[in-house]
């Protein structure tokens, strides 16, 4: 358990030291952050039965013993089930609860309202999670030892598992960079060599820009500087090849290997080095993404990351290149 009291905390924290952030000292409150039994700082339970209701009763007892007579509870993920149970138990000191994960709703998607746009968007997000985002949960819940061997044995497996768990991390270059920085830092790798390809090269650049101290050498494959002129959109033939709902194998592959250009251009630019196996493999994988909308989201963010920024001094040199 971590207890961040406003009397004890010397740091510049908005919650525990609001006076340093434009509030008043009376706005301050304590944060009590217990780890679920078996998680984080808590010990391994000696017997089964630590369901959300039992943990909720324990948290109420904990707050009572710590001397709090009025408090609110917040929970996400598994903690949301505990917080939900606290609300249902309604102990005397609990003034309210806040949840950022609706476990009950996830188990009852068919019974949820779909009248407003927001409700329909929430349903769509839950369906996406159920159909393509919850594999980690099944694996951990039913075959934990299998993934456990890989996580213990391989830093790459651990990184992939951590990134996959947070599917939002797929969608922005800045988030991917933050995840990679967190991983390099957590593994105490010191200086690392980074190799990034395409969107990954933007991530590698982003890491080098915000945390240069952890990068030794940088390999950038199919990359472009942030803010380069013309990087705000794809060429029409690229959009037509990969960005439309219906793509053709020939056009899609041509972006990756110039073997199927129009005959006239092929005669001018032969592709003797193109191995047929590469094209066959890509043909088989074409269009299989973790989520239906992943490609669009990623392409959109790679464009916004690379697009010229009008008022950023860091891009002044890049813009000058246009002249």
């Amino acid at each position: 358990m971590a207890r961040l009291g406003h009397r004890a905390a010397g740091g510049r924290r908005p919650v525990t030291d609001p006076a340093a952030h434009g509030g008043t000292a009376e706005d301050a409150f304590d944060l009590v952050l217990p780890s679920l039994p078996g998680y984080g700082f808590s010990g391994e339970p000696a017997e089964t039965g630590w369901d959300p209701g039992r943990i909720a009763r324990t948290w109420v007892e904990l707050m009572d013993r710590l001397g709090y007579t009025r408090y609110v509870a917040q929970g996400g993920d598994q903690g949301a089930a505990v917080t939900d149970a606290m609300g249902r138990q309604a102990p005397a000191g609990l003034a309210g609860i806040h949840l950022n994960f609706l476990r009950e709703a996830l188990g009852n998607v068919g019974g949820l309202p779909a009248d407003s746009g927001e409700e329909r968007a929430a349903l769509a997000a839950m369906n996406t999670f159920r159909t393509s985002g919850s594999g980690y949960f099944l694996e951990q819940a039913t075959r934990p030892q299998t993934i456990g061997y890989a996580l213990l044995d391989s830093p790459v497996a651990l990184a992939a598992w951590m990134l996959d768990h947070d599917t939002d991390s797929y969608y922005t270059i800045e988030q991917m960079a933050r995840d990679a920085i967190a991983f390099i830092t957590a593994k105490e790798l010191g200086e690392a060599d980074l190799l990034g390809f395409s969107i990954g090269s933007f991530v590698a650049q982003q890491i080098a820009l915000v945390r240069p101290a952890i990068v030794r050498r940088l390999v950038l494959a199919s990359s472009a500087p942030q803010g380069a002129a013309g990087r705000h959109g794809w060429a029409p033939e690229v959009i037509g090849a990969i960005g439309t709902p219906k793509t053709s194998p020939e056009a899609y592959l041509d972006v990756f290997s110039p073997g199927q250009r129009p005959a006239a251009e092929q005669a001018r630019k032969p592709c003797g080095a193109c191995p047929q196996g590469l094209r066959t493999g890509m043909r088989q994988r074409r269009g299989r993404h973790a989520k239906p909308n992943m490609m669009g989201l990623l392409l959109g963010d790679s464009q916004s990351w690379a697009a010229p920024a009008a008022d950023c001094p860091r891009h002044a040199g890049v813009r000058d290149e246009r002249r």
């Binding site: 940088l218 494959a221 199919s222 592709c271 590469l278």
Partner: protein, 61 residues
């Protein structure tokens, strides 16, 4: 920090000219453009690419 910038000479997705632009902006950066290849250049020229990357990573700074 040293950088090695690579691309295929016919990449329509991220044009090779951006590789040269990057190399001009990053101090002491090196560049290599692989022939007759596009966005999949590193798979097409995998042996050469892997060798070039290894040489870059193991070279004296």
């Amino acid at each position: 920090m040293q950088a090695f910038v690579t691309n295929g000479d016919s990449d329509p997705m991220i044009l090779p000219r951006y590789s040269y632009l990057l190399v001009g902006l990053i101090p002491r950066a090196q560049v290599k453009i692989y022939p007759d290849s596009a966005h999949g250049f590193l798979f097409q020229h995998h042996a050469a690419f892997a060798g070039d990357v290894e040489a870059f990573l193991t070279s004296a700074s």
